[in-house]
Amino acid sequence: MDKLNSFVSVISLIEDNEDTIESYLQSLHTHLDENFEDYEIVLIDQNSSQTLTNKLEKLLTQIPSVRYLKLAFRVHDDVALAAGLENAIGDFVVLHSESEDPVDCISHIVKQSLDGFDIVIGASTQNQTIGYKLIRPLIQRILKQIGYNVPRNATGLRCLSRRAVNAVTQSGKFHHKLYVRINNTGYPYTVFHYAQKNYNDKKRTLRNGILQGLYLLIFNSTRPLRWMSGLGVFGSLMAFSFSLYSIVIHYFKETVIEGWTTMVLFTSMLFMIMFMILAFFGEYLGRLLNERNDQNDYTVSFEKTSSVMLNEKRKNVINN
């Protein structure tokens, strides 16, 4: 099979798993070596254990073309991937996950990208849990509102052309908005269907679906703030009509006691609404503060690269 003449960068977050890292890197290396002329494996380490770091440093002397970036502190996975995207040099960049994506989908997704799609989005062919299935359409609807139109069953796997990488990384502060920015470059995109690894594990559950949806919402749009303001207006209208009602009732009924249940109900509802609003305000305020802060979204504490002994030429030179 002919090797593809494009430089591919594979970005992967290190999952604190000492037992699998070696075989993962080996299989990545074998797969990439078989399919591409040249490539790099960019490993992002979110401050994993020292034993894993030591292990990786040893692997750097055995497996070529690995770049190992250690982040100074833990950040959201999207930010860590964004760090990889910003530092990758490839013509094509693949966001890959050790525990979710099989290694051989890399060459397929890159080939699909070579067919003229700047962005290829991975989508799993498996079924999700019932909870997730129920909530997903709702979340999808909401996300559509903020411009994140992601195909059904989308996973974290992506392949981006250099042009798309540049568009994403040059769009200002993108670290927390990685996946939405990838979707919104305006370049042609397509979907790559594949079977995920370890399918029945954690990821696609109701809880995760909601958390992910909220994360995307909060970091990508101020629309929820509007919704909350709307809710606030509604709440105050209710409060206003209730006070009117209590005044009116005061004149027409003698036994005020009667309204007690409604009052309790209303006040507690209003309190609930108020707290929801406060929670969102808190979230946004935090975000504003983060944005205002000059601190980087991530800090790389070091980068190490493979140093593998080079092959000596075969000694078959004929001496005349």
């Binding site: 530092n87 013509d91 030429k313």
Partner: protein, 378 residues
């Protein structure tokens, strides 16, 4: 017993030549051995040709200041070998950089080197997302071939007896003198031995080769198999040199001896690194570099660098030069003081010296003068 000569210098790189002349000028009888058929064929040729002016060492003020002092001296001593006709820019990387633009500017002020914000002409060529700032600076390049010819002229003038194509194989103590056994490279049955009061081991990446062959303890040295690319720069960059600081970045600079630009990259220039130690088998750097399969990293250097400056895509790759670069392991974390000076290492009268950059030669001769007492006949 009287020795054949006062001083034997091993290694005809820039350091060996300079030191041979240094002793000859003091009236000593000097023999210089170089295993290649010509001088300065290794590190003294295959390097970036930068005459350091301090900019490179924002993490080690001391080294920077020393460079700052050597710079005018070197430029003056080797006027005819210096290319000062280009504009030099230092850019500060935004990601992965160990230094910020502000820190760099402050550092330049502190060591007293020119550093001003560059004009639009150059900043319009860079990607502001990856480059925080671009400074216009003053730094020169040397022409390694002219330098070789100038040094050869000086050797002749000083009366140094030099032998090309002769490899030093072993050094042993013979009373108060040292015996140096040599091999002719062209014909390995031709061996000779010489005696001398002092032997200077100026073989750079091969320092431990000479030492281990003489059954002496090796010095802790780190080696890198490096690749530097030579390119034809695009017109806009022909009269410019650019270095991105301070991390895994690239540098493109005029390479006067070939009328090209050298292109190197902190991440991709070193292909493999190793440390000489007693526990692992010794790697002969020169043999290793001529035996390995040389798969160029040019593509990677370019892919990375053109993210910073898209115009670099127009560089035309010509060739790569491969060489073993040797550094002291301890200077890794802060780039400090890159010279090795090991007087009487293993044998009385055997001194191993190495400089991390060309103008370190002044630090070495200073050390040699300081130790004059026990470097002269014992």
């Amino acid at each position: 017993m009287k020795a054949d000569t006062d001083v034997i210098v091993i290694g005809g790189g820039f350091f060996g030549m300079y030191i041979a002349e240094f002793y000859a000028q003091q009236g000593k009888k000097v023999i210089l051995f170089e295993k290649e058929q010509d001088f300065m064929q290794h590190a003294s040729f295959a390097n970036q040709a930068r005459v350091h002016n301090g900019y490179h060492y924002p993490r080690s003020i001391l080294t920077a200041l020393r460079s700052r002092v050597s710079f005018p001296r070197f430029v003056d001593e080797f006027k005819d070998c210096i290319d000062n006709s280009f504009e030099k820019y230092y850019m500060i990387g935004r990601l992965l950089s160990n230094v910020t633009a502000k820190q760099f500017e402050l550092f330049c002020q502190r060591i007293g080197v020119p550093c001003t914000l560059a004009s639009r002409k150059i900043t319009s060529l860079v990607n502001p997302n990856l480059i925080e700032a671009t400074f216009s600076t003053v730094e020169y390049a040397f022409d390694a071939v002219k330098l070789k010819l100038a040094m050869l002229d000086r050797l002749e003038h000083a009366g140094v007896d030099y032998r090309l194509g002769v490899c030093v194989n072993k050094i042993t103590q013979a009373g108060t003198n040292l015996t140096v056994e040599t091999l002719s490279v062209a014909n390995d049955s031709e061996n000779e031995s010489f005696s001398a009061n002092q032997v200077l081991n100026c073989t750079y990446s091969m320092i431990n080769d000479v030492l281990t062959k003489s059954q002496l303890e090796p010095v802790a040295l780190k080696h890198e198999m490096t690749e530097m690319c030579l390119v034809e720069a695009p017109d806009e960059l022909k009269d410019k040199g650019i270095t991105v600081m301070c991390g895994p970045f690239f540098s493109i600079m005029p390479f006067p001896s070939e009328r090209l630009h050298s292109f190197s990259h902190v991440r991709y220039t070193p292909h493999f690194q190793w440390i000489d130690s007693k526990d692992s088998p010794y790697i002969n750097g020169h043999n290793y570099s001529s035996n390995i399969e040389k798969k160029s990293n040019w593509n990677r250097m370019l892919l990375d660098a053109k993210r910073y400056m898209p115009i670099l895509d127009q560089c035309q790759y010509k060739k790569s030069i491969w060489e073993v670069k040797t550094v002291l392991p301890r200077s890794e974390s802060n780039d400090a003081r890159p010279i090795l000076f090991k007087p009487n290492h293993g044998l009385l009268g055997l001194h191993s010296v190495m400089g991390g950059k060309i103008d370190n030669v002044y630090d070495i001769t200073l050390e040699l003068s300081k130790h004059e007492k026990y470097l002269t006949s014992i």
